[in-house]
Symmetry: C2
Subunit: 144 residues, 2 copies
DNA sequence: TTGCGTGCAAAGGTTTTGCATGGCA
DNA sequence: TGCCATGCAAAACCTTTGCACGCAA
C-alpha cells in the first residue's frame, strides 16, 4: 500500500498542522481552511492522499462521527500505544465528541475477543448515545 | 417531527418489505430495487422520506456500517424492547456485519451510564474490528 | 532520469430539496 | 376541500480519480 516515499512541502505542512492539534480531531477541510487562511495553498486532493498514507502507516486514525458529514482524522504521533484505552463517545443531542480514556471500558475488547472471537478496534469505533449534560437538560426540560 | 399522518400505497409497500426482512438490514436502494424488479415503481425520495418517519417513530433503526456507503435501516416492528441487547459488529476485513445478542455486553451501557453519565444507544453504535473468521485466516496466511 | 506527488477539474455515490401534481381524509 | 405525500430532476456534500505537470532522490 501507499508509502511515504518522498518528503514534500505539503507533507511537512500537514505534519506541522497535526502536531499542533494532537489530541483532537480534524477533517480534511479543516486542514485546507487553516492553510488557506494563511494564504498557503494546498489541494484538498493532496490532503486526502497524504492522510490516507498516514492512516495506512498507523500514525493517523480515521473515524466517522456524523452520518454523512466529513471523516474525522486524529494524529497520534509515534505513540500509538497511548491510544489503546482511548474511546470516542458521540452525543446524539448536542453533537459533542467526547474523548474518553478508560481502562475498564477496554474490558469490552477482552469480552468480545474471548467470548465472541472478535478483535475490537477502539480507534475506529464510536459509541453513540446521550451525554451527561444533555441527559440533565432533558430531565429539567430546559433544553431542546 | 414528521408523523405518519396519512396511509399511502408506498407506505404499505415499505411496510410489507420490512416485515419480510425483519431481523436483517437494508438500504434505501434495496427497497427500490426490490420493487423495481417486480415492476412496481416507487421513488427513492419517497423511500427516504418514509424511512425518516419510521426512524423518528422508533420502529426503524438507522446506522452506518461502511464509511461512505449507504445508510442501513433495520425494522424492529413494534417490539423495540427486543433490540435492547442487540449489537452490531462490523468486520473491517471481510465487511461482514454481525448481529450480536449479548447480555454481558450490555454492561458496557451500565458502566458508561454510572461512571461517565453517558447513555449508550446500542442501536446506533457499530463496533469495528476483525471477526473470528478473518482473524483465523490472517494467522494461517491463507486469506487476503 | 525515474517515478512519485501535486493540482485541477470532473466524476462518483448517497441523500436532500424545490416544485408541481396526486391522493387521503 | 385542505393538506400531506409523491415523483422528478437538480442540488448538495464529501471523496475519489484521470491526466498533465512538477519535483524529490
Amino acid at each position: 500500500m501507499a508509502k511515504l516515499a518522498y518528503k514534500t512541502r505539503q507533507q511537512e505542512l500537514l505534519l506541522s498542522y497535526m502536531s499542533r492539534t494532537q489530541g483532537s480531531h480534524f477533517t480534511a477541510d479543516d486542514v485546507r481552511a487553516y492553510f488557506n487562511h494563511k494564504n498557503i495553498q494546498i489541494s484538498l486532493a493532496t490532503i486526502y492522499r497524504q492522510l490516507e498514507k498516514f492512516v495506512a502507516g498507523g500514525s493517523v486514525h480515521k473515524y466517522f462521527i456524523d452520518e454523512h458529514s466529513a471523516a474525522c482524522y486524529e494524529y497520534s504521533g509515534e505513540t500509538c500505544t497511548k491510544l489503546e484505552n482511548h474511546f470516542h463517545l458521540k452525543c446524539e443531542k448536542c453533537g459533542k465528541l467526547i474523548h474518553l480514556e478508560c481502562g475498564e471500558l477496554s474490558e469490552i475488547g477482552s469480552h468480545l475477543k474471548n467470548e465472541h472471537g472478535f478483535s475490537l478496534n477502539p480507534l475506529r469505533t464510536v459509541f453513540y448515545g446521550v451525554c451527561a449534560d444533555c441527559a440533565k437538560c432533558t430531565e429539567e426540560k430546559t433544553c431542546e
